[in-house]
Symmetry: C2
Subunit: 201 residues, 2 copies
């Protein structure tokens, strides 16, 4: 039964068990033993494929990032072709909002990692998360394009507007996870602000 197994498969199986626990019970419940049980393997196996727990956490975080990236890419392609700047901005922002099970899962898991990074900033540097800045730049670019075509008031500052939208979506997500607002209510707030931004001034 022991044919040279595919390491990548095993690693994925275990890392996704970790992510599942982080989503449902939080990272503090994701002990090595719990991950092993969730993945249906022995504790030793988890140790074997990830020498240390930090390695497992980092690997899982990377996979989570890939999942979010894939989700955004999917939403972007669904924005039509060729996509208008407005469709792109809407797709990117609402793909982050926890409105459906997948995005709820991703957002919740990211939140679980968030406090971990706060108490140990060195962790994220070993992994490199350049995403947020890139996203902000992308949004700013789309806003500038919309300004050229007259969809957005040219008086707006693209960088500031992009940063405001992105942080707003981030905050909206937090409030949804904290059960202070439903996902639909958050989406309504986002679309309201997008409508306001894109109305011809």
């Amino acid at each position: 039964m022991n044919v040279r197994v595919d390491h990548e498969d095993r690693r994925r199986q275990i890392a996704e068990a970790l992510l599942r626990i982080a989503d449902t019970q939080g990272l503090q419940s994701a002990s090595m033993r719990a991950v092993a049980a969730e993945a249906g393997v022995s504790l030793r196996l988890v140790q074997y494929y990830f020498e240390t727990k930090e390695g497992l956490l980092l690997d899982a975080l990377e996979r989570l990032g890939t999942q979010l990236q894939a989700r955004m890419a999917r939403w972007i392609t669904e924005a039509g072709s060729p996509p208008t700047p407005r469709a792109l901005v809407t797709a990117v922002l609402s793909s982050i909002l926890p409105t459906d099970p997948e995005s709820r899962r991703i957002t919740r898991t990211y939140a679980a990692y968030y406090t971990l990074v706060l108490s140990d900033p060195a962790l994220v540097e070993k992994h490199g998360t350049p995403q947020p800045d890139l996203l902000e730049g992308f949004l700013a670019k789309q806003i500038r394009a919309a300004q050229r075509s007259g969809e957005i008031d040219s008086g707006k500052d693209p960088e500031m507007t992009a940063a405001g939208l992105l942080t707003m979506v981030n905050g909206l997500g937090s409030s949804v996870l904290g059960r202070q607002r439903t996902g639909d209510a958050a989406l309504a707030i986002l679309t309201h602000h997008l409508d306001e931004l894109f109305r011809t001034a």
Copy 2:
């Protein structure tokens, strides 16, 4: 040395030790023993004044809420008398932003509690945190007042605008804590959006 000591004093001493640890090392490092050492008392004392750890966590969270409330109140009184709606909105929002040591401490500690609440929603219900909704209502009220005096375009939806501002500030705070942005940069983004909102349309 054992004169009937003031329970409230001791409880505050211990709870603030917990908050200090939560701020600097995260809540996961705030064990009963660590709190005892930080407060300079024995483990038994912590147990004596807070029967269980959950009790200690809840009590400390309540005190943290009081501290934030006091901070906001202070900023509001500094907004001048009588304060303009714009000054009030600015005071409330920027008092939440982690720009000085006190607000950084409060925000960081709240963030430490955030994931705790995510993995155990029942926790916050024993404590009752009606703050966010109240704040949103307060902001909406100020926005309406500013609309009546012509400072804000009357076409804006007060509730939506208030929710957008509050969640944006929340997200800005997260990005500052995550070292993605400095506190000053976050404040600049906030004031930019306030300037835009309050320019006569």
